[in-house]
Symmetry: C2
Subunit: 450 residues, 2 copies
């Protein structure tokens, strides 16, 4: 081994001891596959596993093949060591993306199949599958067919899978490179068993492939769209990593309902039965939201403070504050809820923001005109036409603004990478509160001449 390599080896060991993954990745990126294999062969097994995970995608498969077989199995073993995974779990998400490439499909499958459910969370991270991705729900206990198999060759594979595969009714079909070509259903297979020489290619069906990094929620929607019982999970090169089954899709959807509903109400989901949740936990799930909302509601105090003189002159104006603020908040909420849901369903995208704004503007105006007419009549009868006019016009303006803002805010939130459900209802109604008050007093000044 050359002196240069030994130097690199020393430096690498140093930075690995210091757990400085960024610098370790920098050192490794300068080396060719042969050198990498030689260096990793000589590292202690946990450090070898860490170094291995820092190798670039285009080299990692080749390096693994070149390692001594005992080192290979030690690396696989240490990849789900708590100590090794903690290093990667602690990284910032963007650093993790920069440092860890996808594992080769075959290696990923082998590693995954050894994990128990406690290890899935942390090991998924080290394998490069982000939090909330569909890969975290996949199983590798499945029956796999080759595209050049005949029905007579696949049936014994199904037999082998009967005892321990998680799902035997859907069978992914791959080519010699492990690239997914489609799926077979056990049903089609049984229908074709009168002629065991039928080539798989004759009964193969197209399948929606789930990229490992796809969000679990999007993946679950693919199930409701296609009605499939299981779908293959693949890496960037469409190599088979595993399968997600529809019963997991149901669980993902249920979690999603929990989360959406809780956040729409301004709280975090509980993740456990209500009566077993302590007062402390309930408090914690709510206080941050409540505090954030209260702070943003301080705007309303400021707006009213600015109009104290007008309020003092026409005290009757204060009577309508909660009513008008409520109408604005409710109108904004309605629009935000509808559009948030449309985004989740994939019906509305970033490019539709103009269309949504126009649409909601028209709906808001119609709602405002209807409610405003009623408000005008009622308020005129009790407090006189002047006040009636102020109330009526304010309702029209507030509804139009609130619906438009409520409609586009979730789209902007999505664009900024914020979960629309977090961004939406409570904050939109707070925004509508403050801007509604502003509109109210401006119209009052204009109409009443105060």
């Amino acid at each position: 081994m050359s002196i240069q390599v030994l130097n690199v080896q020393d430096r690498l060991e140093d930075v690995l001891h210091q757990q400085d993954l960024v610098q370790a990745s920098g050192i490794l990126s300068t080396l060719d596959a042969g050198t990498l294999a030689r260096i990793i062969d000589r590292l202690d097994p946990p450090e070898a596993a860490v170094a291995f995970r820092l190798i670039r995608q285009d080299q990692i498969g080749y390096v693994f093949e070149k390692l001594d077989p005992p080192v290979q199995s030690e690396i696989i073993e240490h990849l789900h060591d708590a100590e090794v995974t903690r290093l990667f779990v602690d990284l910032e998400a963007h650093e993790r993306v920069a440092l860890i490439d996808e594992l080769p499909a075959e290696l990923a499958r082998e590693l995954w199949s050894q994990l128990d459910s406690d290890e899935v969370e942390s090991t998924a991270t080290i394998m490069g599958y982000p939090t909330g991705s569909v890969a975290r729900w996949m199983t590798t206990r499945m029956v796999v067919a080759r595209v050049d198999d005949t029905v007579g060759e696949v049936l014994p594979k199904v037999d082998d899978g009967l005892a321990d595969a998680e799902m035997v009714y859907v069978i992914p079909v791959v080519d010699s490179e492990d690239v997914v070509q489609g799926i077979l259903s056990l049903r089609n297979l049984l229908q074709s068993r009168h002629d065991l020489s039928t080539p798989t290619s004759q009964i193969i069906r197209q399948a929606t492939l789930l990229p490992a990094t796809m969000s679990a929620e999007e993946a679950a929607q693919e199930f409701s769209r296609t009605g499939a019982l299981a779908l293959p999970v693949v890496d960037h090169g469409q190599h088979l990593l595993g399968m997600v089954t529809i019963d997991d899709a149901v669980r993902i959807l249920e979690d999603e309902i929990d989360e959406d509903v809780a956040r729409a109400g301004g709280a975090e989901p509980l993740r456990q039965p209500y009566l077993r949740t302590s007062v402390r936990q309930l408090f914690q799930s709510r206080i941050i939201w409540l505090f954030a909302l209260a702070v943003s509601a301080l705007f309303t105090v400021q707006v009213l403070d600015a109009f104290q003189d007008e309020l003092a002159k026409v005290i009757v104006l204060s009577l309508f504050i909660p009513l008008l603020v409520g109408i604005g908040g409710n109108t904004g909420n309605q629009a935000a809820t509808t559009v948030t849901r449309a985004i989740a369903l994939g019906d509305v995208h970033m490019r539709d923001i103009g269309k949504v704004a126009l649409h909601e503007n028209a709906v808001g105006f119609c709602l405002g005109a209807t409610l405003g007419s009623v408000g005008f009549v009622v308020a005129s009868i009790i407090f006189g036409v002047d006040i009636g006019l102020v109330i009526g016009l304010t309702i029209v303006a507030i509804c139009t603004l609130a619906a438009t803002v409520g409609g586009i805010m979730p789209i902007i939130g999505k664009r900024l990478g914020i979960d629309p459900a977090v961004f939406s209802n409570p904050f939109i109604s707070t925004f509508c509160d403050a801007s509604g008050l502003l509109i109210y007093f401006l119209i009052a000044k204009l109409v009443l001449g105060i």
Copy 2:
């Protein structure tokens, strides 16, 4: 035929012509099965179908057997006639329950299997399955095994089903009376095929049975609880009616998300992609809610009206109205959302109302004490300790009340038979608005001595 029977026949024809189902049911309930069969044999087919649906549960199977075979098939045919079903669809729900009993399982299955998807909605009603019940999602295209079948006898049934059954992977097992005993999975069946004489009873598994009248949502939750691919739907006697498959459970859950999320935001679900929904339809989905909320918000005007003098004396009190109202509304929403979801998941029942009230009371007080302390400090610095005290105390009181009310309202709503999602957030925040204002001014009067 006796004169008496002829008289009854005439009277029955009369009331059927008048489409008076209540009276027709009264006439039919006085007759024994033999007379019923003779009378129905002589009616015109559509009227025979109507009369047949008015016969009591304990007679209906026996009457059907006694009918002439051509009349039997005419009745089945006319049971999904648009005209016949309209009569029953138009009934009030409670009348329908009183008038229509369950069809015998075998007849129900046969009728169901003839329906196309357009006919399911109306025919489900005439069969006695209420709107939103799981029966409306069931299929009768399934493989059924008998409990005394051997594996060798079930396998050919699966073969027959491969071509057109909706689901061949789960096989309900019934006894000679059509009562469901459990299920077989195709997987277990294939695992046992090395010994074709294995009795079904050795590989049968317990299954959760879905009563035909169970709500589709509850049924979908059974899927997420059990992870089953399909579950049998049964009548009150646990006779097999059909099966619901997991892909339908996914669709039910998705519809449910739509509905819950929309209603939590105070609107009706759209049932079609957002951008294809017209301004008019969006307007309609929202105006009723908005109007109802605005009308209930009139309470806030009344409360403020009652405290006009106090407001005029201390105009600074008006500045905090939207802030305090907002805190109350948000706290109430959080509690309502959490408890509504807990009800939907079956974690909270009517009997838990006391526990929930205590729980939420404690959480509300903690939230109020935290926010109230901050409010006291901030308001004291800007507006003096007197105002600070009013604001702080009000926040404690409002949070405690709002959380408690928000927590128990969904349970009361459920008890009254109102969908908790309809009853909850927007109305609770309106209630919290008005009562919060009341608390605010009472505390202000007390502390400030105005």
